[in-house]
C-alpha cells in the first residue's frame, strides 16, 4: 500500500544519479541510471499477480486539499500495462542510448532528462486524482521538451521542441480546464469517483465542454489530426528519445487519457463523432504522408501518427471490444515501433544518413539488424504471426461491427482497409528501400553492424513481437484482460486472442490490405510524381511563421498603445476617471445640500478673482516660463490666504513657506531647462485637453460643493476634547500631527528625506545644459552677488533663525511647529546661498545635510520608541509640567523631541536638495566674456 505512494518517486530519485555518475564511464553511468527504474519495474511487476486477479491498488495522502489536489496513486490493469511499457522500454532505451550517443554528448544530462520524463509519465499513468494527473501531464510536456531539444544547437531541434511544447502545452491547458469542469461536475477530483459517475457526467450540461477540452488535451499529446504536425518535427531529437517518447510513452499519454476516462466520457454520439472521425482521419492521413517521407524517422513518425489514429478510432467506436482492441494495439504498437525507431537509429548511427534515397541495399552490410528491422516492420504492416497482425485483425473486426454512421457505416471498414494498405505500403518501403533496392548512394560512412549491446534492445523487442504474435494469450492475455477491464471500469467482453479465426471478412480485409499495399508500393513512383505537384509545406516553417506573425502583430499593437507618450497615458487615466465619476455623478439630483452657506464678502471675491485670473494666466502663459512662475506664486499666495481665512493658520504658514521653496526650486530648475516652451500641440489636442480638463474641473468642483454643503459628523470632536488633556497642547492641528497621528508625520518626513536622497542621486553626475544667455538672448549679468543683498542677508539670518525658533517652540500650543520652523530655517539659509553663493557658504557652514536627515528621522523614531520603556505603544506621547524657581511653570513634552526630528529632517532635506543643486552649477558654469 505505502509502496505505491513512493513508487513513482523512485525514478525521480534516479534523476540525480546520472548527473553524479556521469564522471565515471558511460557504461557505469548507464548501469547506475538503470538501477532505479529496474527496481521500480520489479516492484510494479510484483503487483501484477494481484492485479490480474482483478484487484486494484490505491493510495493517497492529502496535499493541497483546497484545490482538490492530493497525492493519490492507483495501480490497476491499465496503469500496470502502461507502467510496464514505460519502465520496460525505458530500460531498453537506457541501454540503447549508451551506444547511440556520442562521446561528446553529455550523457548524464541525457539520462537525467530521460528519467525525469519516465517519472512524469509514470505519474500520469498512476494518478488517481485529476489535478495530479494534469500535474504529471504537464511534467511530461516539459521533460519531453528538454529531451527533444537535447541537441539544442540545432535549429530544428530547438524549433521542433518549442513547437511540441507549445502544442502539447496548449492541449495541457485545455485538459486542465476540462478536468476542472469535470471535477466540478462530479464534485470530486478523485479519479475513482469520476470513473464511477459516468452517467452523471454524460447527463450534465457540461458534458460537451468536458469532452471537447479533455479530448483537446489528448489529441494534442497523441498527435491527432489536426494537431499532428508537431510529431514529425520532434524527430530532431536523438533517436533513443524518439524510440521512447514517440512509440510507447509520450504520444501514448493522450491515448491513455482517452482510455482512462473511457468509462466516464465515452459511449455517446458526441464522443463517437469526435474521437472516431479524428482517429480515422489521422489514421489515413498519417499513413498517406508516411509513404512519401524520405527520412527514415519521418516515415516512422508519420506511421506513429497513423497508428495512434487507429487506436483513437478504436476508442471512439464505443464498443467494449473495440476498447480491448485499442488496448491491445497500444501494447503492440509500443513494441514494434520502439524497435523500429531503434533500428532506424542504428542505421543512422552506422551509416550517417537517414535519407531513404541514399540508404539502399544495407542488407549486405548489416544483415542482422536488417532482419530485426524487417520483422518489426512486418509487424507494423500487420503480417500474420506477428503481434501487429492480431490487433489489426481485431481492429478490422470492430470496424465491421459498428453502425453509428447509419447507412454510411460501410465507409469505415473500407477506409480502414485503405489505411491498412497504406501501412503495408510504407512498411514495404521501409524494408525494400533501405535494405534492398540496389547500392547505397553517397553515404557518409560505410555501414556496418552496430556494437553487440546496441542491438540487444531491438532483439528483445522484436522477440516480443514474435512471441506475442504467436502466443498472444500466454504472453499478453492477462495483461490485456486486466488493462481492458480497467479501461472499461467493469467486466470485459468475450474475445479470443488466437491467431486463427478462420476465413472471415477481417482476414479478407487484411489480405486486400497486403495486396493493395504491395501494389501501391510498386507504383510508388507515380504517386511520388503526383505528390510532387503539391507545394511542400513544412509545418515547422508554418508554425514559426505564425508565431512570428503573432509576435509582429503584437509588437505593432503594443507600439501603438504604449507609444511612449506620457500625454496619452495621463489622458487614459483621466479619461477613465471621467467615465467613472460622471456615471456616478449623474445620479446626484441636487448639488447643494442643507448646510447653510457662509455669506460672501468682498475680500473673498477679490481673492477668488485673483486666484482664478492668475491660475488662468499661468495656463495661458505657461510657455513663458518665468511669467508662469510669477503668476503661480500669486496662486500660492492666495491659497495660503484662503487657508488663513477659513481658520487654518497652520496651513497658511506651511503653504506660504512651501510655496516659496517650491518657487525657488522651480527658478533653479528653469535655468537648466529651456526658458520657453515651444508651441507644439495640435489645436485638436489642445481642444481635447481643454475639454477633459474642464470636465474634471467641473466634476471636482461639483463634488467639492456637494460635500461642503452637507453636514457631517466627524471623529474630530475627540481631538478637540483630548488635545489638551491627552496631548498636552492647545493647537489641535499640531497635536494631531505630532501625537494623534504622529505616525503620518513620521511617514511624511521620511518621504521628504527620501526625496532629498533621491534628488541627490539625480544630481550626481548630471551633465547640465546651462544657457549662457537668457530667453531673449541677453547675456547674463556679471554681478554674481549684489553687495546690498549680501550684506542685508547676513543681517537677516539671525533674525530668521530666531523666528524659526519662535515658530518651533510655540507649535504645540499655537500655529507653528517643527515643519514650518524647518522651512523658515531652510529659506534663511537658501537666502544666504542666493546672496553669497556656494563657495562662500561652503567655507563657513559646515553642515552635513545627509546627517541632518538621518538624525532627524532617527530622533523622531527614537522619540516614539521611548514610550516602549514605559510599556506604551509606539509614539505614545508624554508631557508634564515643571516648576523651576524664578522661571515658573513650563511644559516638556516628548512631542517636542518628535518635532525636533521633523525640524532637522526638513532642514536637511531642503538643503540637501537646493544646496547640492547649486553646488553643481558653480564648478561648471560657462565663463562669459566680460566685455561683451
Amino acid at each position: 500500500m505505502n509502496t505505491l505512494i513512493w513508487l513513482p518517486f523512485l525514478p525521480l530519485l534516479g534523476t540525480l544519479i546520472p548527473l553524479f555518475s556521469s564522471r565515471y564511464s558511460r557504461t557505469a553511468c548507464a548501469f547506475y541510471t538503470a538501477a532505479l527504474p529496474a527496481l521500480t519495474l520489479f516492484l510494479v511487476l510484483s503487483y501484477a499477480g494481484d492485479i490480474f486477479q482483478g484487484e486494484r491498488f490505491q493510495a493517497a495522502i492529502p496535499w493541497i486539499p483546497n484545490i482538490g489536489l492530493e497525492l493519490a496513486f492507483r495501480l490497476d490493469g491499465l496503469a500496470l500495462l502502461f507502467s510496464i511499457l514505460i519502465l520496460g522500454i525505458g530500460l531498453l532505451v537506457i541501454l540503447y542510448a549508451r551506444y547511440y550517443l556520442s562521446e561528446k554528448d553529455p550523457i548524464g544530462k541525457f539520462y537525467a532528462f530521460l528519467i525525469l520524463f519516465m517519472f512524469a509519465m509514470l505519474g500520469v499513468v498512476l494518478s488517481d486524482n485529476l489535478i495530479q494527473l494534469w500535474f504529471f501531464w504537464e511534467l511530461t510536456s516539459i521533460s519531453s521538451f528538454l529531451l527533444i531539444s537535447f541537441w539544442g544547437h540545432k535549429t530544428e531541434a530547438r524549433k521542433g521542441a518549442r513547437m511540441a511544447l507549445t502544442v502539447t502545452g496548449a492541449g495541457g491547458l485545455a485538459l486542465l480546464a476540462g478536468l476542472l469542469v469535470l471535477g466540478n461536475t462530479v464534485g470530486s477530483y478523485s479519479l475513482q469517483v469520476v470513473l464511477d459517475s459516468g452517467d452523471l457526467i454524460k447527463s450534465s450540461s457540461n458534458y460537451p465542454v468536458i469532452v471537447v477540452l479533455v479530448l483537446l488535451g489528448a489529441f494534442t499529446k497523441s498527435a491527432q489530426f489536426p494537431f499532428h504536425f508537431w510529431l514529425p518535427n520532434a524527430m530532431a531529437a536523438p533517436t533513443p528519445v524518439s524510440a521512447y517518447l514517440h512509440s510507447a510513452t509520450m504520444v501514448k499519454a493522450g491515448i491513455f487519457l482517452m482510455a482512462r476516462f473511457y468509462p466516464a466520457l465515452a459511449d455517446t454520439n458526441l464522443w463517437f463523432l469526435i474521437v472516431s472521425l479524428t482517429g480515422l482521419a489521422t489514421f489515413l492521413m498519417g499513413a498517406y504522408i508516411a509513404l512519401f517521407q524520405h527520412d527514415l524517422k519521418g516515415l516512422l513518425a508519420n506511421s506513429t501518427i497513423s497508428h495512434l489514429g487507429l487506436i483513437t478510432l478504436l476508442l471512439g467506436m464505443g464498443t467494449d471490444l473495440a476498447a480491448v482492441a485499442a488496448v491491445f494495439h497500444i501494447i503492440n504498437h509500443a513494441i514494434f515501433k520502439a524497435s523500429l525507431f531503434m533500428a532506424a537509429g542504428i542505421i543512422d548511427h552506422e551509416s550517417g544518413s537517414r535519407d531513404m534515397r541514399q540508404l539502399n541495399g544495407l542488407w549486405k552490410y548489416m544483415p542482422y539488424t536488417a532482419t530485426l528491422a524487417m520483422v518489426a516492420s512486418a509487424s507494423m504492416a500487420g503480417v500474420p504471426l506477428l503481434n501487429g497482425f492480431l490487433s489489426k485483425e481485431m481492429f478490422f473486426t470492430e470496424t465491421l461491427h459498428q453502425a453509428s454512421l447509419g447507412s454510411l457505416s460501410w465507409i469505415i471498414p473500407v477506409l480502414a482497409t485503405l489505411g491498412g494498405a497504406l501501412a503495408v505500403a510504407y512498411s514495404t518501403r521501409f524494408i525494400h528501400d533501405v535494405f534492398f533496392n540496389g547500392e547505397p548512394i553517397n553515404l557518409p560512412k560505410t555501414p556496418h553492424e552496430p556494437p553487440r549491446y546496441m542491438r540487444v534492445p531491438v532483439e528483445i523487442l522484436v522477440g516480443l513481437c514474435l512471441l506475442v504474435g504467436i502466443f498472444p494469450g500466454f504472453l499478453a492475455g492477462d495483461l490485456l484482460a486486466s488493462a481492458a477491464s480497467a479501461t472499461l471500469n467493469g467486466p470485459i467482453p468475450e474475445y479470443s486472442l488466437s491467431i486463427w479465426h478462420g476465413f472471415n471478412l477481417p482476414l479478407l480485409m487484411s489480405a486486400i490490405a497486403v495486396v493493395g499495399g504491395l501494389i501501391v508500393y510498386k507504383n510508388r513512383s507515380h504517386m511520388f510524381k503526383f505528390q510532387a505537384q503539391f507545394p511542400k509545406s513544412n509545418p515547422l516553417m508554418v508554425f514559426e511563421a505564425s508565431v512570428q506573425f503573432v509576435t509582429r502583430q503584437a509588437g505593432t499593437l503594443i507600439r501603438f498603445t504604449e507609444n511612449g507618450s506620457l500625454q496619452r497615458y495621463i489622458f487614459a487615466v483621466l479619461g477613465l476617471m471621467v467615465i467613472m465619476t460622471i456615471s456616478t455623478l449623474v445620479k446626484l439630483n441636487t448639488t447643494a445640500g442643507l448646510r447653510p452657506e457662509i455669506p460672501v464678502d468682498a475680500m473673498t471675491i477679490t481673492a477668488a478673482f485673483l486666484l482664478c485670473v492668475s491660475a488662468l494666466a499661468t495656463v495661458i502663459w505657461h510657455r513663458k516660463r518665468v511669467v508662469a512662475l510669477i503668476t503661480l506664486s500669486v496662486v500660492g499666495l492666495i491659497v495660503s490666504l484662503a487657508f488663513a481665512q477659513f481658520s487654518a493658520p497652520d496651513l497658511a504658514l506651511t503653504q506660504l513657506s512651501v510655496e516659496v521653496v517650491t518657487v525657488i526650486l522651480l527658478i533653479l530648475a528653469l535655468f537648466f531647462l529651456p526658458q520657453k516652451t515651444p508651441k507644439e500641440s495640435h489645436p485638436r489636442i489642445v481642444i481635447r485637453d481643454l475639454s477633459i480638463a474642464s470636465l474634471i474641473g467641473g466634476i471636482i468642483g461639483t463634488i467639492c460643493y456637494a460635500i461642503m454643503t452637507r453636514p457631517l459628523d466627524t471623529i474630530s470632536t475627540f481631538f478637540t476634547a483630548n488635545s489638551k488633556t491627552g496631548g498636552g497642547g492647545t493647537n489641535v492641528v499640531n497635536v494631531i500631527l505630532v501625537d494623534f497621528r504622529g505616525f503620518d508625520t513620521l511617514g511624511e518626513i521620511t518621504v521628504l528625506g527620501i526625496a532629498a536622497l533621491g534628488i541627490y542621486k539625480l544630481i550626481a553626475r548630471m551633465r547640465l545644459f546651462m544657457p549662457s544667455s537668457d530667453g531673449k538672448g541677453r547675456p547674463w549679468s556679471d554681478d554674481k552677488h549684489p553687495i546690498l543683498l549680501s550684506v542685508i542677508s547676513q543681517s537677516l539670518l539671525p533674525l530668521a533663525l530666531l523666528v524659526s525658533a519662535y515658530i518651533f517652540l510655540r507649535g504645540h500650543n499655537l500655529p507653528g511647529g517643527g515643519f514650518i520652523a524647518g522651512l523658515i530655517t531652510s529659506v534663511a539659509i537658501i537666502q544666504q546661498y542666493i546672496a553669497h553663493g556656494v563657495i562662500w557658504i561652503k567655507t563657513r557652514l559646515k553642515l552635513d545635510y545627509q546627517i541632518l536627515i538621518g538624525s532627524g528621522i532617527g530622533i523622531a523614531t527614537l522619540s516614539g520608541l521611548g514610550s516602549w520603556a514605559f510599556g506604551h505603544a509606539f509614539l505614545s506621547s508624554w508631557f508634564d509640567y515643571f516648576y523651576l524657581p524664578a522661571i515658573g511653570k513650563f511644559e516638556l513634552a516628548s512631542a517636542m523631541i518628535f518635532d525636533l526630528g521633523v525640524y532637522l529632517t526638513v532642514v536637511g532635506a531642503t538643503m540637501l536638495i537646493l544646496a547640492n543643486l547649486g553646488q553643481l552649477t558653480t564648478s561648471e558654469r560657462p565663463v562669459l566674456k566680460e566685455d561683451e
Binding site: 510669477i630 499666495l637 488663513a644 506660504l656 525657488i664 554674481k784 537677516l796 547649486g918
Partner: protein, 89 residues
C-alpha cells in the same frame, strides 16, 4: 465704527490688489511683474492683519510675518534669476 472702517479699508486693499494684478498681467516687462508681485505680498500682509483685527484674533500675525520674510526671498530669487540665470552659484 471699527467694523465700517475695516470693511472700507478691506475694500481699498482689495482694489489695490486688483491694481497689482493688473500690473502683473500687463507687464510689460518681467521687472514690472516682479514688482507687482512684491507689492502684492505687502498688500496681502495688510489684508491678513486686517483680518486679524476684524476677527480679533492674534493667530494670523505669524502668517503676516512669514509673508514679509519669504516674500522678500522670493523676489530676490526671481531677480537673481533674471540677472544671472542661476540663483545659487
Amino acid at each position: 465704527m471699527l467694523d465700517i472702517t475695516i470693511t472700507f479699508v478691506a475694500a481699498i486693499i482689495c482694489i489695490a490688489l486688483f491694481l497689482n494684478l493688473w500690473r502683473l498681467l500687463q507687464g510689460p516687462t518681467l521687472s514690472d511683474r516682479i514688482l507687482a508681485l512684491d507689492t502684492m505680498y505687502i498688500n496681502a500682509i495688510a489684508l491678513i492683519l486686517l483680518y486679524g483685527i476684524s476677527s480679533s484674533s492674534a493667530l494670523y500675525f505669524e502668517a503676516a510675518l512669514l509673508i514679509a520674510m519669504l516674500g522678500f526671498v522670493s523676489t530676490a530669487a526671481l531677480c537673481k534669476y533674471l540677472l544671472r540665470g542661476d540663483i545659487i552659484e
